[in-house]
C-alpha cells in the first residue's frame, strides 16, 4: 500500500475527527412479553445483559486494535409499548428503570426503545407508555424514547401530535435537559442506530448490529482542497470522501458483528457532528461558499451535501439503512450554535433545511414559556414535511424552563449547548385542539 494512502487514513482519524459514532445492538424483546410486569422486566433484564454482555468489550478492542475511536456503544430494543401491553401495569416507568439498570450493568452509553408507534392510532400500551414518558425519561439517564406520530402511508395522527406537545412540555417542567432523550417522529425507521430515536423494529431479526458513522471534519477538509471550483467538483469530492468514511463503517460493523456472533444489519450513512471544532456540518456548508449557515442558498447547499453523501456511501457498504443523511442538530454542532448566536439562523430556515436532509428540528432550545400547543404546531409542521416528502422527520425541542431568547442551556459532552431560539408567538391552539387525523397524501397510494 502506498505511503500516501496510509497517511491519508491516519490523518482522517487523528486530525479530521473521523470516528464511528455508534455501534448499536438491536435486540428484540418479543420473547420477554409476560402478563406479569415483574416477570417481563426480569426477562428483559436477563436478555439484555446476556445478549450484549460483550458489546462494550468488543468495541473497546476494535478501538484499540484499529485505532478508530468508537464514541458510543448503544442498545435499541423493541418498542416497549408493544412489549408491556400484555401486562396489567398502569404505568411503564418500571420498564424504563429496568432498561437503565441493564444499560448501567453493561456499560453502554444509551439505550433506546422506550417508544410507541401511533401514526394511525393508539393501542392500550401506547397510551400508558406515552403517559409514563415524563417521569420515565426524567428519572433515567441512559434511556431514550420516541413516538412516531405520522407516516406517508397513514397520514398524521393529530391526537398524538397534540399529546406529544404536552408531553414535551411536561418533561421540560421536570427537567429540561431530559428533553434530549425524547424524539417525535414521522416515518420513523426501524434500524436507526442513532439516539434518541433508535428502536428495534418489529421486522428485524432477534439481534442485529447497526453502525452509525460520523465524519463532517473529513468532508470539510476535502472541500478545502477544491476552493472556488464548480459545484460538480464539490459533489464529486463529497462522494469520494463519503465512500471512504462509509467503508470504515462497513468494516467496523463486520468486525464487530463477527466478534459478537450477531448478524450485521446496516450502516447509517450520516454526517453526525459533535460540538468540537472541525466536526461540524455547518462548517461544510460554509466551506461550500456560504458566509454563515442560514444565508440564502443554505437549503440548496445542504440538499447537495445530503445527496452526495448518500451516493458516495451506497456503494461502500452492503446495506444502507437508518436515517442516512446529514444531521443538523443545533446544540451538537459548533457552527450551528455560532450561527444562531449571531442571529444568522432562525427556526423557519432550520425547518426549510429539514426538508432536504435527514431528521428534523433537532436539539433546538426554545423559550421556557413556549406553550404545549406551539410545540404541537412545530411537530405537525415537521411531520407534514416528512409525510409529504416520503422521508423521516423528527422534532427534538427543548423548552428551556425559566429561560428566554439569548440565554442558553447546557447538555454536556457530545450533546453540547443550545442558545434559546425565538419562536413565532402566534397561537396554533385551535388547530391543534381539533384532533383527528390528517389523511395520508395522495401519492402514498402506490399499490
Amino acid at each position: 500500500m502506498e505511503t500516501k494512502q496510509i497517511l491519508d487514513t491516519i490523518q482522517m482519524i487523528s486530525e479530521e475527527k473521523l470516528d464511528i459514532r455508534t455501534i448499536t445492538m438491536g435486540i428484540s424483546l418479543f420473547d420477554c412479553i409476560d402478563s406479569d410486569g415483574e416477570k417481563a422486566r426480569q426477562k428483559i433484564y436477563d436478555k439484555l445483559t446476556t445478549s450484549a454482555k460483550d458489546l462494550v468489550k468488543v468495541a473497546d478492542q476494535i478501538e484499540s486494535e484499529y485505532g478508530i475511536p468508537i464514541v458510543n456503544k448503544r442498545i435499541s430494543v423493541t418498542p416497549i409499548s408493544m412489549i408491556a401491553a400484555a401486562c396489567h401495569d398502569d404505568n411503564y416507568v418500571a420498564y424504563a428503570q429496568t432498561m437503565e439498570k441493564a444499560a448501567e450493568t453493561l456499560g453502554v452509553d444509551l439505550i433506546g426503545g422506550f417508544s410507541a408507534l401511533v401514526q394511525k392510532g393508539y393501542q392500550s400500551g401506547d397510551r400508558k407508555l406515552i403517559a409514563s414518558m415524563p417521569q420515565a425519561l426524567s428519572e433515567t439517564k441512559r434511556v431514550c424514547g420516541s413516538v412516531n406520530v405520522g407516516s406517508t402511508r397513514a397520514g398524521i395522527n393529530m391526537d398524538a401530535v397534540k399529546q406529544m406537545g404536552q408531553i414535551v412540555k411536561d418533561l421540560s417542567e421536570i427537567d429540561p435537559v431530559s428533553c434530549m432523550s425524547l424524539v417525535v417522529f414521522a416515518n420513523a425507521v426501524e434500524d436507526n442506530p442513532f439516539m434518541a430515536g433508535a428502536f428495534h423494529g418489529v421486522g428485524e431479526a432477534d439481534k442485529v448490529i447497526n453502525v452509525g458513522i460520523s465524519g463532517p471534519g473529513v468532508v470539510k477538509r476535502a472541500l478545502e482542497q477544491v476552493k472556488g471550483e464548480s459545484i460538480d467538483t464539490v459533489s464529486e469530492t463529497i462522494k469520494k470522501t463519503a465512500f471512504k468514511v462509509t467503508r470504515m463503517g462497513q468494516f467496523v460493523g463486520n468486525v464487530a458483528a463477527k466478534a459478537l456472533d450477531v448478524p450485521f444489519g446496516i450502516v447509517d450513512l450520516s454526517l453526525a457532528p459533535t460540538p468540537s471544532q472541525g466536526d461540524s456540518v455547518a462548517e461544510i456548508l460554509e466551506e461550500i461558499g456560504l458566509e454563515s449557515v442560514g444565508a440564502p442558498g443554505t437549503t440548496a447547499a445542504l440538499a447537495l451535501l445530503n445527496d452526495a453523501v448518500k451516493k458516495g456511501g451506497v456503494m461502500a457498504c452492503e446495506h444502507v439503512g437508518g436515517l442516512s443523511g446529514a444531521f443538523i442538530p443545533v446544540s451538537e454542532d459548533s457552527g450551528m450554535i455560532k450561527a444562531v448566536e449571531h442571529g444568522n439562523l432562525n427556526l423557519e430556515k432550520l425547518e426549510a433545511m429539514t426538508a432536504v436532509c435527514s431528521v428534523g428540528l433537532d436539539m433546538v432550545a426554545v423559550p421556557g414559556d413556549t406553550s404545549a400547543e406551539t410545540i404541537s404546531g412545530m411537530i405537525a409542521d415537521e411531520a407534514a414535511i416528512g409525510v409529504i416528502n416520503n422521508k423521516t422527520t423528527a422534532v427534538r425541542v427543548i423548552p428551556a424552563k425559566g429561560k428566554k431568547v439569548g440565554e442558553q442551556i447546557d447538555f454536556g459532552g457530545i450533546f453540547g449547548y443550545a442558545p434559546v431560539m425565538p419562536v413565532n408567538t402566534n397561537s396554533p391552539a385551535k388547530f391543534v385542539a381539533r384532533g383527528g387525523r390528517i389523511p395520508a397524501p395522495i401519492h402514498s397510494f402506490k399499490n
Binding site: M1, T3, Q5, I6, L7, D8, T9, I10, M12, S64, E65, Y66, G67, I68, K244, R247, M248, Q250, F251, V255
Partner: protein
C-alpha cells in the same frame, strides 16, 4: 497460525538512531518488518512500517504496549493499527 498484520507509524523530532530503536524493539516483540518507508513531513520525522507476527505467539496488546513504552522513552509518537482497516478504506 494466524498472521497479524499491522501498520506502525512513528512521528517525532529527527534524532540519531530512531530506526534502530524501533526495529530493535519490534525484533524483541517478534514482529517481522515487511516494509518500511520514511520521510520528513512539516519538519517532523515520519516513518511507516508494515509489520507482521504470529498472533498465537504474541498478542496485539503486548506489541502495542511495547511500542507505547518505547514512545515514552524516546518522546516519539508511535501508533499501531491493524492493517485491514487501511485496506477497507483505501482499496475496492
Amino acid at each position: 497460525m494466524q498472521t497479524m498484520k499491522a501498520v506502525i507509524t512513528v512521528i517525532g523530532h529527527d534524532q540519531v538512531g530512531i530506526v534502530a530503536k524501533v526495529s530493535q524493539r519490534l525484533a524483541t516483540l517478534k514482529v517481522n518488518i515487511t516494509d518500511i518507508s520514511q520521510t520528513l513531513m512539516h519538519g517532523d520525522f515520519t516513518m511507516m512500517l508494515m509489520g507482521e507476527w504470529n498472533d498465537q505467539d504474541v498478542q496485539f496488546e503486548v506489541v502495542k504496549q511495547g511500542l507505547q513504552d518505547l514512545a515514552k522513552e524516546t518522546g516519539l509518537s508511535i501508533n499501531i493499527q491493524r492493517q485491514e482497516l487501511f485496506d477497507a478504506i483505501q482499496k475496492l
